[in-house]
Symmetry: C2
Subunit: 273 residues, 2 copies
């Protein structure tokens, strides 16, 4: 199997370069990629050091390196591109067509990321994070009213990371309701959830996987026994079915996929912050 | 000012399409963009509906729409591209050069995102989120040992969202230590932090901005007075200076920028999950 050194290079956080670059690499499963992220490359000196590192990695692996770049500045782009690597330019590749289409020059400004830099967005996200933290594993009538979504599932089905991701990424007010054994076994929703049925979204998980997760938390307990996990998952899924609550099986999903699925299926209003 | 309808189209979460597409759009500040995200477009039927929506938006705004796509499937790409929009293909644009370079065909598989889908990564992130939640606003000696980083700052300087982002995105064990008025005024670090000086990272913030944030939480209190905010910020910054603790001013930064800065400056080992 061939080995390739891969570099994600950015004048800011490199999150965009990593996101698209990694997506492209997943389409090639016969290559061992060694990944390096070089962020805040915002001076020609840093760009030259980066170019040298990229060149050296190519010599060490015996094949030229691969660079995914979101550098905005033309000089720094040129310096890094001259490292001899295969250079993918995620900005320059598209900006010319956009300039032609829109009839204006791009500002070529470093630091205008899609991240939130104005107060209203910052406040929105802070509020959402505080909401998720305040309501983690517990609900009150006031909370029901304020929530955009109430994530429902048995203990350790992934509710908390999902709610935090919904808050941090989408600015959504995401509460969670843990289904305890007391809530399970019947066809009725726990009291109080009924009036907010349209906000409910269920998470379920393979019982074997759930046992593994719970076992790390409380080894060899009733809570983490396969029998208990099977019981809870079966009855939680029945509850979702009986009450028409949309749900998703999280076993092999990433947190961002779970969150995007909820936003998509409930048709929530949001914007990427 | 011209108006353009923009569509981010993906067979998965659309996070990558939104990330790069939004970055490109920020370079054009003379256009009013209306943004639409169409995720989980994974059948030809859905692609046709999307193409129709894009076509209609172009007619309504009087200019063709702009599409940023990470669709993997060639048929669906073609269907959407034929909507008459300006079509930016974030996959096909690069995949051919990668195939030539690596000497192999891409798998053209939908769903191989860069998200975590294997258990070890999921566990890593879950552990990190649980760590951040368990240690929010409080530290014990055991926590100090396990932390990759301890984020230090006055109340409402952005510690909690930053720690959660570090956990969710980088799988890092991020604890936070709130500097209270009792900790401020001298040159000494709070007891217990000294031994972990290399893990400390400070957050500071413009006092006027801090007053605004605190005022939403506790209006017209001593806690949210400008005088109090100025006092705490000044002494927190002095503490950072005296003790050689790196720190950043979060006033105009996004949470992802703060987190990436910490990872960068402390040289933390991590991988994008």
């Amino acid at each position: 199997m061939q080995t390739r050194a891969v570099f994600f290079v950015s004048d800011r956080t490199a999150i965009t370069a990593e996101g698209l670059g990694s997506s492209l690499l997943t389409q090639f499963d016969q290559v061992a990629f060694t990944r390096n992220t070089l962020r805040f490359i915002d001076t020609p000196e840093k760009a030259r050091a980066v170019a040298e590192e990229i060149r050296r990695a190519g010599e060490e692996t015996g094949s030229r390196s691969i660079v995914f770049s979101t550098l905005i500045d033309a000089d720094m782009r040129r310096i890094v591109a001259e490292s001899g690597a295969l250079f993918f330019d995620f900005v320059d590749t598209f900006i010319g067509r956009l300039e032609a289409e829109l009839g204006q020059q791009s500002s070529h400004t470093i630091g205008r990321t899609h991240g939130l830099t104005d107060k209203s967005k910052y406040n929105l996200r802070m509020d959402a994070v505080n909401f998720a933290l305040a309501t983690d594993d517990g609900l009150t009538p006031r909370i029901y009213e304020q929530a955009d979504v109430i994530v429902v599932g048995v203990s350790r089905s992934g509710k908390t990371p999902t709610c935090l991701y919904l808050a941090l990424t989408f600015g959504l007010h995401a509460a969670n309701y843990p289904l305890t054994p007391d809530d399970l076994g019947g066809a009725l929703l726990p009291a109080g959830l009924n009036a907010h049925r349209h906000k409910l979204y269920g998470l379920t998980i393979d019982p074997v996987r759930l046992r593994g997760i719970r076992n790390e938390r409380r080894p060899d307990s009733q809570y983490s026994s396969l029998q208990q996990c099977q019981y809870e998952v079966r009855h939680a899924e029945e509850l979702f079915h009986h009450n028409g609550i949309p749900f998703v099986t999280t076993t092999t999903m990433s947190v961002e996929e779970i969150a995007a699925t909820i936003v998509h299926e409930l048709g929530l209003q949001w914007q990427l912050l």
